[in-house]
Symmetry: C2
Subunit: 498 residues, 2 copies
């Protein structure tokens, strides 16, 4: 039987290729793009696929862009989709469609699984994922974690086995500080030496993306500040020149740091800081609930001090791909790459944030006081962030599981997620339809703007008495007062409503 | 033998009073201040003494202010000093002298130890200290902590045993959230009932100060935002009216929170947040040193994001009175007043910050590589903050002890601290004189502006080769380059200089 790889968005199936040679396809593409510099993007995920079309649409240089991913069930569909004119992710940014269509029209974006592509590249951008393996007690309490570099090392090896000796390799993947110098450079140099080539001409740089899925996806690459560094002067020079063709550096000047360890550290530090800020408010939300305090009001009164402006508001925790792992990656690096101790604060942050959906559930149970068995519970929002359709690592997943374990009858709504990939469930996108059903409990779980409309409140006000649990402070003070006339309303982090 | 209480600044000795009755003194003061509302400030420490003269200089209402403290060796000198025309603390704010002199001229500020004063008060402001008792391993690693409310309860009792039944009691002391409702109100109401008075007329409010010792001491009370609350409507109304006569509320509007638990929480939350931000950079400084990274450069590149603007720079840790205890007070309250668990992040912050001087010392040792025995080590700065003469809980104290334990020959300089009270040592205030001596090592330990002058660098450049350890990033990049021509230079959080 031919193995298949399925596009989870369109459900389109693709047969896996039966031979691993795409030399003809690649050369045909190159012939169509004569005299253009060649960029190969390794990894066609949430960063690599978008980075590819940003490169293909550079206003300053005509590039031929080849995206490379693996020809396996999990990834081949991305390659096939791109070559069939279907972008491999759904995003709220209209520029993505525009850029992708433009690259098809120009014919300067091609996808392949054949590492032959690396041999033609002037620049290779590493955008593969590097995950942290967590072990948690009861799914919530972080017990231990590890980081396995082996697939990352294989990916770098496959570059080294094929690349030109003077290629520029730009690592964009979030990596443990130390990786470019201790992992990437030694592998590439060794592979080049093995091939009888010079090992002193290769250029290696690190510059992290600050991709923010959502309506400004492209801008978060093209129009945002970048930090960069290289392992030596020629790497720095070459990377700078390259980034200037991709990013609007006139408006968002580049910042050169003196070491790849520094840029690698900057990325995980940045995300550890954010994770810590979230964890801070997670802990104080519990305390506020216990002490009958409205934490929103307290935080608002403190945030007017500029020294405290980064304070966050209560919520059901942290989702997305980065904040749930980067603090641990940082701590792993400190222990494993620099023979030191862990970053205690970073680990504590992840530990607290991971438990957040459980805290939210427990707060609900303490207020609801009834059995959830067969209760109709409507979740408003399954993505991890308001007005974004991304469900990776969404904290809603875990709170959903907890309601399920109490045998609640769950209804899902999300205007941006017709299908919840990780749970393999259809999601209702039409809010009116969701609200027409019999409902006992509404959980406001994602801050989509459609849930903030006056019309939405009016519909709920017409429903028979129910319980509303706002986990993200989406309801305004006025809406809460209106709703309280008929319904029970709880808000996470608000002990004053108990 | 008559016991004495000594003003540690002037060394002036005062005999402790041999009878505890100051009724005559108080009544004489009141007669001189007829028709004025009477404010009694309980506690004449760093907040209470300054709050007293702020009240005595209210631009909106003529108050007669009585400061009360205890007639014991530790505190009596404050009472005696005030009544002898000497303000009980040295501060860099010229307004303090002005306000104090003005109150002497008007004769509307008096100090006493007699709790008879409370019986005359329209408003009582509680400004006593409430400390956390810490147990640490090897002086640095926090092992356990506790909070003893008994002296706080006695102080509140002595108010209740004397006060008018309709007095306004404003608690300014940083207290565990829950204190006004669970401790202050029950004690006052019980004492009033015991005295046969109404227990429903007393007004109790909480509003925390954000006093910042230094050149803007007075302004940090008078011209800054305040959060306030009261245990009932009449308390809120009365406290609001009072605060409006003390604070420039037109420019800095008051914020009313709905519960005293909320204002009490706001204060410790505010300081926990700051403590956490400091601890964050403490941990990453170590990591940066290990990884050869210039953390200053990294933080600068990240802080340009408004979501990350509260990030701090490396330093030798947190000093002062508040940040070293308030996060623990918060955690104590959550456990003891609300039967819950600890605030893990707050406790971890204090734990990390407490170790900072040790980390700094260890970093120095790893770089210096020689024995410190009999080495001439000059500390530049002993106070806990640049351009402030406050040595309470200064982190310099602990790093000083560590150098001492290695038998270094220590010289101290601080332009604002002629005498280091807690260590009972004279400090040289003249920088030129300090630098004239033979020096092997200079530790830049406090960010006083006089250490940032060009002249200072020129003098050091003329000295024979020595080692400079900047623990707070005071040296500019140019100064470092200049100094490196002749001297060894290390900077905390800068692994790139190793």
């Amino acid at each position: 039987m031919v193995k298949k790889s399925v596009n989870p968005i369109s459900n389109q199936e693709y047969d896996l290729p039966n031979h691993l040679d795409d030399k003809n396809g690649i050369e045909q593409f190159i012939n169509h793009n004569k005299n253009k510099k060649i960029i190969v993007v390794q990894g066609l995920g949430f960063v690599g696929s978008v980075m590819s079309i940003v490169c293909a649409n550079s206003p300053k240089e005509e590039y031929a862009v080849i995206g490379v991913d693996l020809p396996n069930e999990d990834n081949y569909w991305k390659i096939a989709s791109i070559n069939n004119g279907v972008f491999p992710l759904v995003a709220e940014d209209k520029k993505i469609n525009l850029y992708f269509k433009n690259s098809i029209k120009k014919g300067n974006f091609y996808a392949t699984y054949d590492s032959y592509a690396y041999s033609l590249a002037d620049t290779i951008i590493v955008d593969i994922n590097l995950d942290v393996q967590k072990k948690s007690i009861d799914n919530f309490l972080l017990d231990s974690f590890d980081l396995d570099l082996s697939s990352f090392k294989s990916a770098i090896s496959s570059i080294g086995e094929n690349c030109k000796e003077d290629v520029l390799v730009l690592v964009e993947t979030t990596v443990p500080p130390g990786t470019c110098k201790q992992v990437v450079a030694p592998i590439l140099k060794k592979k080049l030496t093995d091939r009888g080539l010079s090992n002193s001409k290769v250029k290696i740089g690190h510059s992290y993306e600050r991709v923010m899925p959502g309506p400004n996806y492209i801008d978060s690459i093209q129009n945002f500040y970048r930090v960069f560094s290289g392992i030596d002067k020629k790497s720095i020079k070459s990377l700078k020149r390259f980034l200037e063709t991709i990013i609007s550096t006139d408006e968002y000047p580049l910042t050169l740091l003196n070491d790849t360890n520094a840029t690698e550290m900057a990325k995980v530090l940045e995300n550890s800081y954010r994770s810590m800020n979230i964890a801070f408010i997670v802990e104080w939300s519990r305390f506020a609930e216990e002490a009958g305090v409205n934490l929103y009001e307290v935080v608002k009164s403190i945030k007017m001090r500029s020294t405290h402006s980064n304070m966050m508001l209560p919520g059901i925790g942290v989702g997305g791909y980065c904040l749930t792992k980067d603090p641990l990656m940082a701590s792993w690096s400190r222990k494993n790459m620099f023979d030191s101790i862990s970053l205690e604060q970073s680990e504590v942050s992840v530990k607290i944030n991971d438990q957040m959906p459980k805290f939210a559930f427990e707060f609900f149970i303490s207020q609801y006081k009834e059995s959830l068995k067969d209760k109709k519970v409507l979740f408003l929002g399954v993505s991890y962030r308001g007005d974004v359709g991304d469900t990776r690592y969404t904290p809603v997943s875990l709170i959903y599981d907890l309601f399920l374990s109490e045998h609640a009858d769950i209804l899902l709504n999300d205007p941006l997620v017709p299908f919840w990939e990780q749970k393999d469930i259809q999601v209702e996108t039409n809010l009116k339809l969701s609200l027409k059903k019999k409902i006992d409990v509404i959980i406001i779980s994602t801050g989509h703007s459609s849930y903030q409309s006056k019309r939405f409140i009016e519909i709920i006000l017409k429903k028979p008495s129910l319980t509303i649990f706002d986990t993200i402070g989406l309801l305004t003070e006025n809406h809460i007062k209106l709703l309280q006339r008929k319904h029970k309303v709880f808000v996470l982090g608000r002990g004053d409503l108990n």
